[in-house]
């Protein structure tokens, strides 16, 4: 019986170590994805980091059944999105000019920065006004390296559905931004 328990413990340790190694290897990619999804809802860096950290911790706990890449990414997107929505509702933080970070170029003047911020704010308000189904495809498609196929995989939707929702979302955004 002692030999059996030792064998079992050794197996458990090996399995845990393998999972940790695998998760660590994918942490950079997953953390960037979780953060951007959370930021797409919250538009506040610190809040987005907190929400993304929670989502990544949950992904770590469930990584045993999320080892397949697409499955893990899709699961993480859903968790991060849902957590960000809940956080937004619970905190009801208003999006202000100061809270919208902006990657500015060094050549931009202060006026340019202000204009950029204003445009971003309007854009975000328009995105917030979209229905949730259109909003999520807009945010995911806006993240770099995500084409229609990738978005379809993340949301577990047919590509045609993603295309039609993107089309509708952009149409409505144009109306709101005019």
């Amino acid at each position: 019986m002692n030999e059996y328990s030792e064998w079992l413990t050794g197996t458990e340790v090996r399995m845990a170590r393998d999972l940790d190694t695998e998760f660590e290897a994918r942490l950079t990619e997953l953390s960037r994805l979780a953060f951007r999804v959370a930021f797409g809802v919250l538009r506040h860096r610190e809040d987005a980091e907190d929400v993304a950290q929670e989502a990544l911790t949950k992904a770590y706990r469930n990584f045993e059944r999320l080892r397949e890449r697409e499955r893990c990414r899709a699961w993480l997107v859903r968790i991060a999105w849902r957590a960000a929505i809940d956080h937004q509702r619970s905190h009801k933080r208003r999006t202000s000019l100061e809270s919208v970070p902006l990657e500015t170029e060094t050549s931009m003047t202060a006026a340019d920065v202000l204009v950029s911020r204003e445009r971003s704010l309007r854009l975000w308000r328009a995105i917030d006004a979209l229905p949730e189904k259109l909003r999520i495809v807009t945010v995911l498609a806006g993240i770099e390296e995500h084409d229609v196929r990738e978005v379809a995989l993340l949301l577990d939707l047919p590509e045609g559905t993603v295309k039609s929702r993107l089309f509708l979302a952009r149409q409505r955004l144009r109306e709101l931004l005019q």
Binding site: E12, F23, S31, R45, E49, T57, E103, I143
Partner: protein, 185 residues
């Protein structure tokens, strides 16, 4: 604003990077997580082991048990006498024994013991005592046994075949007609 311009604006709005400490913070947070519990794995293994044990026990339990050999009945002495309590078998009956040897406890024979009615045992013991004291002639015993065997065969009647039985005929009752009218019954 066309689709391409809108897409670029959205991408620019989302191209915010997390702080440089973000990934390090996530690693620290995960490192503080409790160790992975494989209880579901050990639980499955334990359950499988329990099931296997239960199946084995069930197989063993439903195996037909061997018929128990009943122990010989402890016989009390019916009459005061030197004969000790002992198990009587056919083998011992067929051999007339000396009185002293009969008193000693007999070693068990290799053949299986047979349960004997205590009254029969008493009768056999009496027989043995009579034989020892020469009240009964042993040579007459064999004739006696033969007659007993014959009596058994006489008792055993072979069943008659049904075809040999005569059918039972029930004749209707007939009453004599009285000569006079209104005759008495």
């Amino acid at each position: 604003m066309n689709d391409e311009q809108l897409k670029k604006e959205i991408e620019q709005a989302l191209s915010v990077a997390p702080s440089p400490q973000f990934i390090a913070r996530v690693r620290r947070h995960i490192a503080d997580e409790p160790r992975r519990k494989w209880t579901h794995v050990t639980w499955r293994i334990g359950t499988a082991a329990l099931l296997a044990s239960a199946i084995l026990l069930g197989i063993v339990a439903i195996q037909p048990r061997e018929a128990r050999i009943p122990r010989p009945v402890a016989i009390e002495k019916a009459a005061p006498g030197p004969a000790p309590v002992q198990v009587v078998t056919r083998a011992t009956l067929q051999k007339p024994v000396a009185a002293k040897k009969a008193k000693d406890a007999r070693p068990r024979h290799a053949e299986p013991e047979v349960l004997v009615d205590p009254r029969e045992v008493v009768a056999f013991q009496s027989l043995i005592v009579d034989l020892e004291e020469r009240r009964i002639d042993p040579s007459q015993l064999s004739e006696l046994f033969e007659e007993v065997e014959k009596a058994r065969t006489l008792v055993e009647v072979a069943p008659m075949p049904l075809a040999g039985l005569e059918p039972i005929v029930i004749r209707p009752l007939t009453f004599a007609v009285p000569d006079k009218e209104g005759g008495s019954l």
